[in-house]
């Protein structure tokens, strides 16, 4: 073992019997939370699918106006961030605190890159008059009113996903701040793992969003 490694473990809270029980409870709780998140997004996916069934033409027209390449790049960015997050988890298990911190910061940077690209995409949408809900701005697809349904759904899905990612980046930075203390891994190693689940899940949602909005409708 490397000299850089610090002890790793879980400080058992009073009402748990042992560290295993506590870790299991924490991971279990996070999975349940993720199930609720999945159903949260499923409502939005359902809208996208129903709109596609009702108005296939309108949906294609919208998909051709979405910024396909930004969407694809963003998917790749999130896949990279998943890798760095997995690496952070593995390093936390080994007790390699510095490497773990570096990976966490890399993950946060990739998340921020995603958000920046997303912001640029929104700006392009605005410039290209893809914002039907701004009354003061003419809408480029105004000929087919049903196109608005998918555009609106697109903004809500990506907005909600962006919100989740923003939360993820903030929590990750907070966690990194706490984890800079050498004693962190001795007491709270499982927090990195539990947070990692959340991060991968945001990635998973985007992996579904990309085909549902950008790809399948083209």
């Amino acid at each position: 073992m490397s000299g850089a490694a610090v002890p790793v473990g879980i400080e058992v809270a009073e009402h748990f019997q042992d560290a295993n029980q506590q870790r299991h409870a924490a991971v279990f709780g996070m999975w349940l939370w993720l199930a609720t998140e999945l159903l949260l997004f499923s409502g939005l996916f359902l809208v996208a699918i129903v709109v596609r069934v009702m108005y296939p033409d309108a949906v294609t027209a919208v998909a051709l106006h979405l910024k396909f390449w930004i969407g694809a790049t963003n998917t790749a960015v999130l896949i990279c961030s998943s890798l760095t997050m997995s690496a952070a988890i593995e390093l936390s298990r080994l007790g390699w605190r510095r490497g773990m911190l570096a990976c966490m910061l890399a993950t946060a940077s990739l998340g921020t890159l995603f958000l920046a690209l997303k912001g640029y995409e929104y700006w392009r949408d605005y410039v290209e008059h893809m914002t039907p809900f701004f009354g003061f701005r003419p809408y480029v697809l105004s000929g087919d009113r049903a196109t608005q349904l998918l555009v609106d759904d697109y903004f809500i899905i990506t907005g909600l996903h962006g919100l989740h990612l923003t939360t993820g980046v903030s929590v990750l930075l907070g966690l990194a701040w706490i984890a800079r203390r050498p004693s962190f891994l001795r007491h709270h190693q499982h927090r990195v793992e539990v947070f990692g689940l959340y991060w991968h899940f945001i990635d998973l949602i985007w992996i579904s969003v990309f085909p549902i909005l950008y790809l399948l409708n083209r």
Partner: protein, 98 residues
């Protein structure tokens, strides 16, 4: 970093890197299908959706380490998706038979 450290880390990161490569490859195929659509087939979306499902499964099983978790957690991970299927299928039952 000793030699042994490198071996440990290579061993530990094998699975995440494999996931990463697989995900990027699948994404590449999907992007190609989306941009060039090599053959004009109306139902090409089925292939694209299939690839997306494969990507989701990779993230679930390997990145999120479902493969290492006890059965009860795998069950609840599946339950979320199963409920999603209920919501979609019964709603579409209405829309597809109207």
């Amino acid at each position: 970093m000793t030699h042994e450290d490198w071996r440990t880390i290579r061993h530990r990161l094998r699975s995440p890197v494999l996931c990463f490569v697989a995900l990027l490859l699948l994404l590449g195929v999907n992007v190609l299908l989306g941009v060039y659509a090599p053959f004009r087939w109306r139902n090409i979306w089925m292939i694209e959706a299939g690839i997306a499902v494969a990507m989701v499964l990779i993230v679930l099983v390997f990145s999120m380490e479902l493969v290492r978790e006890p059965p009860v957690i795998r069950l609840f991970a599946g339950v979320g998706f199963y409920w999603l299927v209920i919501l979609f299928s019964l709603t579409l039952l209405d829309y597809l038979t109207r």
